[in-house]
């Protein structure tokens, strides 16, 4: 069982959270020409790192806020959690 420290609610079990994927992916800016490659990188292409991975989680059965988590994908150790609008 993962225990994720929600920056709003404190330590909670993974059962309360939904996963949201890679947190480093940025949507191409609006109202600007977007190349196919940039769009593919946004929609499809993922590094899927082994080791430290920055990712989004949604505290869906709690405060319903999106948060950022830094977690090791090989050991599942969680290093840090921050609010969605903060840099990790």
């Amino acid at each position: 069982m993962l225990h994720i420290k929600c920056p709003h609610c404190g330590m909670r079990s993974q059962n309360e959270f939904a996963y949201g994927g890679d947190a480093t992916i940025k949507r191409p800016e609006l109202n600007k020409e977007v190349s196919d490659q940039d769009w593919d990188n946004f929609i499809y292409n993922r590094k899927s790192l082994r080791g430290k991975h920055k990712e989004l989680w949604h505290h869906i059965s709690g405060c319903r806020q999106w948060i950022k988590v830094e977690r090791d994908t090989a050991t599942h150790e969680i290093f840090k959690t921050v609010k969605a609008n903060e840099e990790i």
Binding site: M1, L2, S13, Q14, N15, A18, Y19, G21, D22, D36, D40, N41, I43, Y44, N45, R46, K47, S48, L49, R50, H53, E55, R71, T73, A74, T75, H76
Partner: protein, 418 residues
């Protein structure tokens, strides 16, 4: 190579089975090969076998970081089926079904292929309509499909919950009678033994540390057991695809995710078929040893740990008990996890890449085991002829760019969502 038969069995019985040949050798890597396959799992071993058998290319090495068959080919729930709706998936898988049927004879190795049929349960009228449509699509592609009503399902699997007060009543099912299971380790070993006998070097405990790419062409591969010169490399490393892609400066439409499976204690024969729960994600069959073999959802977050967490297991088994209440009385014998290469539309990739001489085989999601023979056959063709076969045309890497996605399950890009 020693042929396995009743006669060789009797002959070796006289020497207490002490004089059997080794099934495959343990060679040191040569300096140069025509083709190097990275990944000694089912797909890699099958690819090497068909390169030798169909294309007469035998100066081939399989490089495996661990031991052959230690990854997903040894960690799955052994289900074999071709019950797909889209032509690309259906024709590819049905081609594979033919290879499965002939496999034991072809490999001179009993893979215990058991076409016991798969039953996908439906729990609403709408789901029956969807299954009727899928069944019709399958039959148009020459695949057997039978739509069963509630009474017919009850005759086949009376142990399922047919009582009145269930949350997800069984309305009927779609059955593919020719689907089934096989002995997963035997598949890996059978392919390994035949490939080895035709001259393929199976090199275990050998990690790939880098690639030599000059002017957009593959020149060689660097490994923990020395550098190897080679012009063609086939990458079939399933859950480790992203790690090796990074060494090639490639970012792929694939993510590594964790999938668990489990078996119960062995019990007397109770379930003749493979059965899937239609109101969630749960599948079950009974092994020849009597264990109930079960699996379901991914853990749902990126992972390279080959072990899972209990919440997902509890969720999956709750579905199982809702479908077949007797399961609650069984004790769990083992659970384990494997790393799935989840592609962004749920379908695999078997294609050339922008690097000349680098061929890609990945994105198998939940369905890697059943695809082993067809994947090996088409990947061998793609490598040997330097062009894709008609059967794997749909599994192109460029489809994510052109929009020709094969989202059989309609989950969009978040194929790991449960």
């Amino acid at each position: 190579m020693q042929k396995y038969s009743i006669f060789s069995l009797i002959k070796n019985a006289f020497s207490n089975h002490q004089n059997w040949d080794l099934a495959w050798k343990d060679p040191t890597p040569k300096k140069e090969y025509d083709v190097v396959i990275i990944g000694g799992g089912g797909h890699g071993l099958a690819t090497a076998y068909y390169l030798a058998k169909e294309h007469n290319i035998t100066n081939v090495a399989i490089i495996e970081k661990g031991w052959i068959g230690g990854g997903n080919v040894g960690r799955n729930t052994t289900i074999i089926r071709s019950n797909f709706m889209y032509d690309e998936n259906a024709l590819f898988s049905e081609f594979g079904m033919d290879l499965w049927r002939k496999m034991s004879q072809d490999l001179n190795y009993n893979v215990m292929f058991s076409p016991r049929g798969i039953i996908n349960l439906a729990h609403s009228d709408a789901q029956m309509n969807i299954y009727a449509r899928r069944g019709n699509s399958m039959r148009l592609n020459g695949i057997d499909a039978v739509l069963l009503n509630r009474e017919e399902v009850k005759e086949i699997i009376p142990m399922a919950d047919f009582s009145d007060n269930v949350r997800f009543p069984i309305f009927g099912a779609l059955m593919q009678p020719s689907a089934g299971t096989a002995r997963h380790d035997a598949v890996a070993w059978g392919y390994a033994r035949q490939a080895d006998s035709m001259g393929v070097d199976i090199i275990q405990n050998c990690e790939v540390t880098g690639f030599d790419v000059v002017g957009g062409k593959i020149q060689g591969v660097r490994t923990s057991r020395g550098d190897i010169k080679v012009k063609k490399i086939g990458l079939c490393v399933a859950g480790s695809t992203n790690i090796l892609a990074e060494k090639l400066n490639m970012t792929l439409p694939v993510e590594a995710h964790l999938l668990q499976a489990c078996v119960s204690e062995p019990v007397k024969p109770v379930l003749d078929n493979v059965v899937t729960f239609g109101a969630g994600h749960f599948y079950i069959s009974q092994s020849d040893k009597g264990e109930m073999v079960m699996g379901g959802d991914l853990d749902g977050y990126n992972s390279y740990a080959q072990r899972g967490n209990l919440p997902t297991l509890q969720h999956v088994l709750t579905e199982g008990i809702a479908m077949m209440p007797f399961l609650s009385k069984l004790k769990m014998l083992r659970t384990w996890g494997g790393i799935m290469d989840m592609s962004m539309d749920g379908s695999p990739i078997i294609d050339k890449t922008h690097i000349e001489g680098l061929y890609l085989n990945c994105g198998w999601c939940y369905g890697g085991f059943k695809a082993i023979p067809a994947s090996g056959w088409t990947f061998a063709h793609t490598i040997a002829q330097d062009r894709v076969h008609k059967l794997n045309e749909g599994y192109s890497l460029s489809r994510f760019n052109t929009g020709h996605l094969l989202d059989e399950k309609g989950l969009g890009t978040k194929t790991w969502i449960s």
